[in-house]
Subunit: 219 residues, 2 copies
């Protein structure tokens, strides 16, 4: 059966997965780009945005890229929360087509969880399906769309927390960035003793990022 | 001038420095010993409790001990919160003499912050002074007691947070343990952007503990 995976989800040291004050101009609110500075210089991100052709990749980012590059491999569908698809209020804008331009980096079907579904939208190789569904129901549909491939849980923090709390995640890679955001949306709330259900490993890379992996224990 | 240092302060991944339900039987509440399992097998802790003579130290704990062993070196005084000195309500027990028996591991003066001061207590090489004082005033007295030596901020999480928020800490070693306590007292609250004032470094040891060091930036 396909696995449910999380990759490259960044949180601050105080556990915030996004900042406060999300908007079109500030997709991560007051966090700005600080949660993702480890990710941007990696070969994976450069290749995704085409920047790799313009600039060399710093070899010192290889340890971070070892994690970053696992995103996308074997993934057949993504489920994301409404807060990842657009800024607050995007549901009121029928022309909103996501942050990613005409060729989004997913290249698979994407289920967007929203209480206000709309018609599907195809951009390049990505088709967005909008669903008002429980984590379980969205996952059931995602598995069908994914075929033999895996399901990626894309965040933001609220929907990822829901999936973790519901015991639906097989593998999670969380990047802990040594900054204190102080406010925003916390990932870890309500997940007491989650570690009992996972084998947890951690390593800190030269960028100062601590990459946590949670692999669900075999029954 | 003497420096103000923090060593071996453990927090969970979700930022709790102690659990919920602290009592005489459970000094760390529902956290139990889980925040300190990295510390107990170290040579430093074994020597402190005399266990080193009874059992060999596991060489695999050397990376953790590299951090643990910095506690005590050059420390002339400790400041601790009321919650570290005893279980809730110890102020009502005139016979309470701390957790540490007749030879506490401090071997220096200790200032205990409490709204209900009592007479000083000397146990072995340690003298406890009880003060109802602000972080700044307690630190001023501590510096006098420490002479040329440094001041150790011993926690718990509330008083450590106060000292960090007041900008009074020069060096902090925080051990992040990969467990989710879910409840208790958080260390990081109200410390937004603390990293701007510190050089922050991190390393994960084989025990899975991520040792963070915060060194105050030179002006």
């Amino acid at each position: 059966m396909s696995r449910v995976r999380v990759h490259n989800f960044s949180v601050s040291l105080d556990g915030f997965g996004t900042g406060e004050g999300l908007s079109l101009q500030e997709p991560f609110g007051h966090a700005g780009e600080r949660l993702h500075t480890w990710f941007f210089p990696t070969e994976t991100f450069r290749a995704q945005t085409g920047e790799r052709e313009r600039r060399d990749v710093d070899p010192a980012t290889a340890p971070d890229d070892a994690f970053a590059s696992q995103w996308g491999r074997g993934i057949g569908v993504e489920i994301m929360g409404a807060g990842k698809y657009g800024p607050p209020g995007w549901q009121d804008d029928p022309d909103w087509r996501g942050w990613w331009g005409e060729e989004p980096p997913f290249h698979t079907p994407v289920i967007v969880l929203t209480h206000r579904p709309r018609d599907p939208l195809t951009l390049g190789e990505t088709t967005f399906h909008f669903r008002d569904a429980s984590p379980e129901d969205a996952l059931a549909e995602a598995r069908q769309l994914a075929g033999d491939l895996d399901v990626h849980i894309g965040g933001g923090p609220s929907m990822l927390r829901d999936y973790l709390a519901a015991g639906l995640v097989d593998h999670a890679h969380i990047a802990v960035v040594p900054i204190l955001l102080g406010r925003g949306v916390r990932l870890w709330d309500g997940l007491e003793a989650l570690e009992a259900r996972y084998d947890v490993a951690a390593i800190t890379t030269p960028s100062g990022t601590t990459h946590l992996t949670l692999e669900r224990k075999r029954p």
